[in-house]
Symmetry: none
DNA sequence: GTGGTCTAGACCACT
DNA sequence: GTGGTCTAGACCACG
């Protein structure tokens, strides 16, 4: 069973942070396409949250079709690779936005933010 | 007087978060090189923190030479453009680290993180 | 032997629900006019109810003349086609009432409920 | 405050039945477009369910955009008349399906189900 | 064992 | 007062 380290801040609802972190785990392949997730109760223990809170997060992911449920059997990561790629691109887009936005805040243009990435990232 | 929006989370000491946000304000030019900062009390009001907390943050910035104090006259942003550039580069480096690290978490390589930046940032 | 799927809710007496579902089976021709019904015990097994409960339902149908008993031989569906048609019309009337009533609940007039039936039913 | 009579069976989750009945109330205009709904707590009292259960139902309706929330002010029916019409047509379609399906069960064709509606509905 | 539902009760931020 | 979140604990169906 793939164990994940969950971390939370007190700013936003825990269940939303669970959604985000689970989404990353799925998109990154830590929970592979088609594989069975740990049970709701196990995930709740890992994250040190109430099972209901974890359930709420998983319901969100299911409404996005990222996971699906087999009754009495467990929850599984989708097999829809196109969906996984789509979500991955969305997450990447969010990170790019955050990066360019934060760079802009310290007065670095988009063009320069590319230069910095090429220079500093090579360390 | 240049007004800044301060925001905090409850995870880390407030004064450290003040240091970070003031550093960004200085490096970005919101508080220009050589200009006079608002008074400690004014800054404390802006940030809705105790003046002592703001004082501690400013002391921290002063020990980095980012600001200096003129007795009875106030605190000023450094005129040392090389220092400002150095700090700016450090901050940029942190953001690059964060960006590549987050991209890696969702399974995107350094090389691809450059491609994404070029593609998505151009939107 | 014609097998029927019985389904119950816990709101109303089981025997009444049996009556309804058997009446439908007869009127629809699933149990044809003049044909022999499965034995009470067989019907009870199908419906997963106590034979006494099934017996009570059949007595009800018999008082409506929809079925009749041949001593030692079993129970048979009536041959009275006019009666079958009458019951069928009654059931149809109930369904019409339910349909128009439900449509009214969502704010659709009788006239419009006809239009909807013509439009949507043609799908 | 518009009071609604809620009724439940034990077959399906209460929150889903709440969703259905609230949807009908909205589409029918019992809760008019743009109007404020009773508070979650009031609705919970009306339906004799736990506030959390009502909250869950309302969350479903909100994800369908049928209602929206104004923080600290309450929940409101959407103003999107096109959406309301769309949902209304969906509900009508379901009722048509149910009607024709039930009529078919008692051996009445689609064409005859129209005749019955015209004859019997005129009562 | 699995997921799903429901209740009771608490606490929060916001106005 | 409003909606929203979270926990604890219980019970259910399913296999």
């Amino acid at each position: 069973m793939q164990v994940i380290q969950f971390k939370f801040d007190n700013e936003r609802p825990i269940y939303l942070q669970l959604v985000e972190q689970l989404r990353v785990a799925i998109v990154s392949g830590a929970y592979a396409a088609g594989s069975r997730l740990p049970s709701v109760r196990e995930l709740a223990v890992m994250a040190k949250v109430n099972p209901n809170t974890m359930q709420k997060a998983l319901t969100e992911l299911e409404s996005d079709r990222l996971i699906f449920t087999e009754r009495t059997n467990g929850k599984f990561v989708t097999n829809d690779q196109r969906l996984l790629d789509k979500i991955k691109t969305e997450l990447a887009s969010d990170l790019v936005q955050k990066y360019t936005s934060d760079m802009a805040k310290i007065g670095i243009t988009y063009a320069d933010s590319i230069k910095y990435l090429k220079q500093l990232g090579g360390q």
